[in-house]
Symmetry: C2
Subunit: 255 residues, 2 copies
DNA sequence: GCAAAAGTGTTGGAAATACACCCATGT
DNA sequence: ACATGGGTGTATTTCCAACACTTTTGC
């Protein structure tokens, strides 16, 4: 075995994505020849734009998956936690640090990766597209509609499906959605978000009633601008109040 | 057959648990000296007995954790899926094959294992204690109350907590609970199960109403025996009917 | 003044909760 | 006969779903 080729451990890497990809291939080759299981993290990065849920993808650079879309991932460094690896990937690719991120599921099928045995941990991340417009244009990075999407590399379709299903469920029970919106948002935007993610139509009045009754939205006193109609009020989500709220452990049996 | 039970196909291994444990230490030493990340699976095996939720543990054989309780786990073989590894562990330790098993979470803190860097995938498993009474007595295997439990090896306490929280939530939305009971059970047993796992008191009449209204319990026509009071009817859970039922994707926002 | 979306209450039905009595069995 | 838990029905409340008109702004 060749210890030298194991990924470095230093603090935040300054490698470009392209350089990172090059290293990966060599490392994988080495892992495979040694019969070792590699560990990677893949990030399913969701954004919300134009009233649609988008996911951030890159063109795969594996021959076998030429021209297919791939999630953003990397091998886990030897001295970095899984969460740290996921945050590193986000930082390297989007330049963003204050991001919603949560582990969803491990994928470990023996042949899921053509170059070597690699177990990957899928992370789901939510970011506000507006906030990082700039960094996208390098590489082959693109926001892609979640609904109309096929031809993904590896088993990344399965990872995406798992994260999307996870998101649909999670967003109904936890206030994740606000990570996809600007800090100040109108109720219309919020409703559009829920309708897009859950693929349902909701009654506007009941939707408002629901959110106001939770008492977690703060009126900023500001209004929408640049809309060709009556502007809506802008709200802010009150995370502190949410934290303090006591959770009920009993929801009721239903299946 | 319950669709949520991941099918277990592999042929049954003939390794003994003891032999497995010996190998692990040598392999870990090798991993550490090569600076390689190992990957393991740990099973949190729940059972229900004496109206209490129990978890199956073994005495740790790592010096550092002498006399502490440890989950049942093993390194993942190079040509075995993660699910397969989990089923193998269950088979080796309990002799049971038709078991509820689901992945819960990966734990990858850098220093979670003293001997080497090991990322572990926690699986939650539910088994009917009655059905495998026999195989327990070897090793240092014991059923332990979930509530009164401390001093666990590694980060196994965190794994257990994650699986227990997962179970509490999951059992309210999916019919897992029946895996912990005999095939034929009384409503009292079922209610005791829910009360124990969720740590709540439930109204007996409303509980019955709830389950009967789901229409998934089949009256077996049989009655309890050996009870010092009026015997209750025995029911069976109808998995087929449950599968066919259409799930609603919309539950309602609530947090 | 017109188009477009914001904002607002009420009502009926369904589901959850609270609650008390008789019944069947073993001892 | 009595102790123990099995089995059942109803009234009340709470929550959710359906539904229409007036207001504000930009053009």
């Amino acid at each position: 075995m060749n210890p030298e080729i194991i990924p470095n451990d230093g603090p935040s890497s300054t490698d470009t994505a392209a350089a990172g990809q090059k290293n990966i291939k060599m490392i994988l080759k080495q892992l495979e020849s040694d019969g070792i299981i590699g560990i990677s993290v893949d990030c399913v990065i969701f954004g919300f734009d134009d009233n649609e849920l988008k996911v951030l993808l890159i063109k795969s650079d594996f021959e076998k998956y030429e021209n297919k879309w791939s999630l953003l991932g990397d091998l886990v460094n030897n001295h970095e936690d899984l969460d740290e690896a996921a945050y590193r990937i986000l930082r390297e690719r989007t330049g963003m640090d204050d991001v919603y991120l949560e582990q969803v599921k491990a994928f470990g099928e023996v042949n899921r990766h053509p170059a070597a045995r690699v177990v990957t941990i899928a992370y789901c991340s939510l970011i506000n597209i507006e906030h990082h417009q700039l960094k996208i244009l390098d590489n082959e990075l693109h926001w892609h509609r979640v609904t109309t999407l096929s031809d993904m590399a590896f088993d990344h379709r399965a990872l995406l499906d798992a994260c999307y299903a996870w998101l649909q469920k999670r967003i109904q029970e936890h206030p994740l959605g606000f990570s996809l919106l600007p800090k100040k948002f109108s109720l219309r935007e919020l409703q559009n978000l829920y309708e897009a993610i859950l693929d349902v139509k909701l009654d506007r009045r009941n939707f408002r009633k629901k959110f106001f009754s939770m008492g977690l939205l703060e009126d900023t006193g500001e209004l929408e601008t640049d809309v060709p109609h009556r502007p809506g009020k802008l709200y802010r989500f009150n995370y502190e109040k949410y934290q303090k709220k006591e959770r009920k452990k009993w929801f009721g049996i239903d299946f």
